[in-house]
Amino acid sequence: MQQTAGTIVWNEHQMEDVWLLTIEVPRIAQRIKPGQFVQVKVNNLLDPFLRRPFSLYRTFRDEGKLQLLYKVVGKGTRLMTTLKEGTSIDLIGPLGRGFTLPHHAEKIAVVGRGIGTAPLVALADEASNKGVEVYCFLSAEEKHKLVGLKEFKEMGCELYLHADTEDNVKMVTDYLKKLLPATQFDGVYVCGSKRLTREVHNLSKKYGFMSQVSLEQIMACGHGDCHGCVVELYQDKERSKKCYKRVCKEGPVFETWEVVGVYA
């Protein structure tokens, strides 16, 4: 983890309330892994008081650049839209535990909804660069709110899309269900929806593949000291005991079986 100043290369409105921030910050860009995040200081003042955590969206390691995809939901993110190219930005990172990509993985699936899709783009990027086949199951309220389409297409991923307004399937994981068990996935990674997480978890139990979820929580320090960002998790697969784990330190990536919320 480093606290370091980066330079804003580009801060572009993508669609609706979603923006893409490109930052030149070699010290973090070269080391950050998919699933990890950075803590962003949105201005030089005491208000907003806390930094804002964002997962890695993409990294261009040879250029020393990384990208964060963010949705405007409050004071901090609204301020971020005013960040100007060429100006300095204070970041802390890389933080947290990223996704686990098994060494000899041949095929993985990513399942994302809305802005939750962001960290999955980073994972798909790394995986496809290693020659892993990536299947993407993407969901959103409406078609134009689907995230990462351009990037996933560029990476040559197999895409399955679903918007709430469509009714050919109930949810995007129905496409995944149809592919199983014929298609063997070495890992399935989900982010952005409790429902989809539950679906993925149930499928992973049934078919035995590894499945991980990326969670979020309101953070203060972001590096494990304050214990403010905990979630309640199961300590064991038998669900005999619960515990609190820090989303910033033991997470944000957890195994789907740990998450209390998946057992409805």
């Binding site: 201005n43 003042l45 005491l46 208000d47 907003p48 004071k75 301020l79």
Partner: protein
């Protein structure tokens, strides 16, 4: 009439180390503002810094409907002001306070400015010269680099003399040395002063000794800036020899030299 105004920044650039001149498109301020008055500047759109910053009107241009503020970067608020770019719109409250006054019978006047205190004297000199007065301007600065506005006064037609603490330009010594000489050489009808407290005290002393009327512009930390909170007071002599507190934002910032009590 106090108005809450949104003004576009036409220019905001340094004119000396730590000194900036901000020119704003502000019709009401330009048409109603008077030399010696000030505005309360909202330096940040957030809650931090919390209070507005009181800055004197430096130049009032009725024809172009603009006003300029000359400010020194001394803290959080002024630093933010210096970083605000051309084209941005900032909120101002004003015009505020009681400005400088003059009458037809004042024919020869002296303006004594120290450091950033010189700012409001530019607007004053402009008005006095328009009224065909003979205007002597005495400027004091720590060093030649920190001297501001000399050119403005000369080009207006004022008779300008300068003193620097380190002797790098003009008289080696205090601006009040220049005042002493001027009082000796010229029959002055009024002396106006704005600058650091020690300079102001000396100006008051010299003008009282020579029985010349004197107007001083004071500054004080302000809350509301409009006279409601009574936070920004200065001590003022009352007729019975006692004292009272007057509001620098409303009863001032311009006061008669002899009425202000300076606690040593």
């Amino acid at each position: 009439m106090i108005k809450s105004v949104k003004a576009e920044i036409v220019e905001n650039k340094p004119i000396a180390p730590e000194f900036f001149r901000m020119t704003l498109k502000a019709e009401t301020l330009a048409s109603e503002g008077l030399p010696g008055q000030f505005v309360m500047v909202k330096v940040s759109p957030n809650l931090e810094p919390f209070l507005r910053r009181p800055i004197s009107l430096h130049q009032i241009n009725r024809e172009e409907a603009t006003v300029s503020l000359l400010y020194q970067v001394v803290g959080k608020g002024t630093r933010l002001m210096s970083e605000t770019q051309k084209g941005k719109v900032i909120e101002l409250l004003g015009p505020l306070g009681k400005g400088f006054t003059w009458s037809d019978s004042d024919r020869v006047v002296a303006l004594v400015g120290g450091g950033c205190g010189t700012a409001p004297l530019v607007a004053l000199a402009h008005s006095l010269l328009e009224d065909k007065k003979e205007v002597h301007v005495l400027l004091g600065a720590q060093t030649k680099e920190k001297l501001v506005c000399e050119e403005d006064f000369i080009s207006m037609g004022a008779k300008v003399k300068v003193a620097t603490d380190d002797g790098s330009y003009g008289h080696h010594g205090f601006v009040t040395d220049l005042l002493k000489n001027l009082i000796h050489d010229v029959a002055l009808d009024m002396v106006y002063s704005c600058g650091p407290l020690p300079m102001t005290k000396e100006v008051v002393k010299l003008t009282q000794e020579a029985s010349i009327p004197c107007q001083i512009s004071l500054e004080e930390r302000m809350g509301c800036g409009i006279g409601a909170c009574i936070g920004c007071v200065c001590k003022v002599r009352t007729k019975d020899g006692a004292f009272t507190y007057k509001k620098v934002c409303k009863d001032g910032p311009v006061f008669k030299g002899e009425e202000v009590m300076f606690d040593d």
